[in-house]
């Protein structure tokens, strides 16, 4: 009883947040999932329970296949691109370089700008006009003798181009993460490996890289979950065209244009599931790790 008196006030102080998270996160995820299992395909009908029918039947829609394929291509290019570029920039800077603060500030500033503002410039840069109608990168490429591209309008590789602004925006963040990771490697460890006869590359491969694994994992998780729900950037660059459709845009269209709540909820559930399958194991793993240390 005396113990309860010591912790009860704390619980009371957090109670509003517990209720809010319970209702707005878990309650609404459940509510959304429940809605996805009904046939409420317009705004007035009651919605009968139909089990997982919507989750199956959405695969009959060509647009769903398109948006899923787009999301996969975008995710692969964006995650790998931002990871490699971020790592590379950090690698170049890890031993300290003159003007490091300025470099970091420049690589990181896109993080402070909204995807909508970014999207406007990149839509101009990636304009698909060619020859005398070319603006943006095509005009620049033409001037220096590089081929011109369809960019995000390319039927096959459009989503790879769409990943470029996202890489531009997020690789500075990855750089900052890796730079912190590099600097966290104790100098004694490197020195010990050198004494054991490792060359600089050996030190890097056998000492530094293994210690960067946790940072790499965090970066992967962050980039991955941003990528699977990408919305702002796509809308700002190309609107709701099918040629750059992704699940998040498809869901928006289902809710506001098709007025089909059950379909919107189904797509939303798939987005949540695609993120949850890797985020939940990661969270459980990192909380356990923290408790052990």
């Amino acid at each position: 009883m005396r113990r309860a008196r010591t912790w009860l006030p704390g619980l009371l102080l957090v109670a509003p947040s517990i209720v809010a998270i319970g209702v707005f996160v878990y309650g609404m995820l459940g509510w959304n999932f429940r809605l996805a299992m009904t046939d409420k395909h317009d705004e007035v009908s009651e919605g009968k329970f139909v089990g997982l029918d919507n989750f199956v039947s959405i695969w009959d829609q060509p647009r769903w296949h398109i948006s899923v394929n787009h999301a996969i291509m975008f995710t692969v290019v964006f995650v790998l691109g931002a990871l490699v570029l971020g790592w590379f920039l950090a690698f170049l800077m890890e031993k300290g370089i003159r003007g490091e603060g300025t470099f970091r500030a420049i690589y990181l500033f896109p993080m402070a700008v909204s995807f909508v503002a970014t999207g406007i410039v990149w839509r101009w840069l990636m304009n698909s006009g060619m020859e005398e109608r070319a603006v943006g990168l095509n005009r620049l490429f033409d001037a220096i003798g590089l081929p011109q591209w369809q960019w995000f309008r390319d039927p096959d590789w459009g989503m790879a181009a769409m990943a470029l602004p996202a890489i531009w925006q997020m690789s500075g963040y990855v750089m900052a993460l890796f730079l912190a990771g590099f600097r966290g490697v104790p100098e004694e460890l490197r020195e010990a490996a050198r004494v054991d006869g490792c060359g600089e590359w050996g030190v890097y491969r056998h000492v530094v890289l293994p210690l960067l694994r946790p940072v790499t994992l965090s970066a992967l998780i962050i980039l991955g979950h941003i990528s699977l729900k990408v919305f702002d950037l796509i809308v700002a660059v190309s609107g709701k065209q099918i040629i750059t459709d992704v699940p998040a845009v498809f869901m928006w269209v289902a809710v506001f244009d098709s007025h089909d709540p059950a379909k919107g909820a189904t797509i939303a559930s798939y987005i949540v599931l695609s993120v949850a399958v890797f985020v939940i194991p990661y969270l459980v793993w990192s909380v356990r790790k923290e408790r052990r240390s």
Binding site: P9, V14, V25, A134, I222, A268, V272, V275
Partner: protein, 285 residues
């Protein structure tokens, strides 16, 4: 020895060159934004796309400001109260979860953390329904759904996880003895918070307010689903301005810059805290 030193110097030079090349690449969009925004309509043809303006004009800026001003004001009304409320909640939660723990606090914290990662699409339709319901229940049309208060509510609630995380990780570094000493002196939970914890919270408060202000200012998804023409924040208005075929590039670019000025200012002036927020949010994007 000299050979090693020479090689070291060469590679430093090479690194510098590569880093500078990337600086140029990173700044290309900035060049485009600035140059295009100062061009008069007469210089809008594609042939001059990359040129500096022949005649510099602020005409596009003036028009963009007129179109965007209501959205900018809405964003202020959204981001200022939103980030302060988030900060207050995060601070209390972080304090309890680090210094006044109750049974199950770890499990609860993990459950909070998941809230940070959920794609907001997964709660959006129920959230719209709830806010519409609140409008009807209170008889206040356009306040919860379609209004800024509803948008603030959403951001504050979904900001709880990240704000709690930042404050908790900061408060963990306060020595337990300080809290104990205050307890021995007979101070309760709230008195200890006021007299011991709050006075040293300034850095964490700065990190959280900056983080939340930037997130709220830059948000598009919640705004698109929850607000109407009267309450559109700058991001939505910007997207509408730029999405209209008739808007010249110069105005689009000027509007994009205008909408980014507040967060860029914060980044330039308070970059240190911005960085810390990013690293604290290494769990979040």
């Amino acid at each position: 020895m000299t050979a090693v030193a020479a090689r070291g110097r060469v590679s430093t030079g090479a690194r510098l060159v590569i880093l500078l090349a990337f600086v140029v690449v990173f700044l290309i969009p900035v060049y485009v934004l600035l140059v295009t925004s100062f061009k008069p309509l007469t210089e809008a043809d594609p042939g001059q796309a990359w040129n500096l303006p022949v005649t510099w004009t602020t005409e596009a800026w003036r028009v963009a400001w007129e179109k965007l001003a209501p959205g900018l004001w809405n964003s202020v009304l959204l981001a200022v109260p939103g980030s302060l409320l988030s900060c207050a909640l995060g601070s209390m939660n972080g304090y309890v979860l680090s210094k006044w723990r109750f049974p199950g606090a770890d499990v609860l914290f993990t459950l909070f953390l998941f809230g940070m990662f959920i794609p907001y699409q997964g709660v959006m339709i129920p959230l719209v329904q709830l806010l519409v319901g609140l409008n009807e229940l209170t008889g206040l049309q356009g306040v919860f759904y379609g209004g800024i208060p509803g948008l603030v509510l959403a951001h504050v609630v979904y900001g709880i996880p990240i704000c709690t995380l930042i404050f908790r990780n900061y408060y963990v570094t306060i020595p337990d003895e300080l809290i104990e000493a205050s307890r021995v002196d007979g101070a309760g939970m709230l008195r200890t918070y006021r007299s011991v914890v709050l006075p040293v919270s300034a850095p964490a408060i700065a990190v959280v307010v900056i983080w939340q202000f930037t997130s709220l200012w830059n948000d598009f998804l919640f705004a698109v689903f929850l607000t109407g023409p009267q309450s559109w924040p700058a991001t939505v208005m910007l997207n509408n301005i730029a999405g209209a075929q008739a808007t010249p590039y110069s105005q689009q670019m000027a509007a994009a810059i205008l909408s980014s000025i507040p967060t860029m200012l914060i980044y330039v002036l308070l970059g240190r805290f911005f960085m810390r927020g990013l690293m604290a949010g290494a769990l979040k994007g």
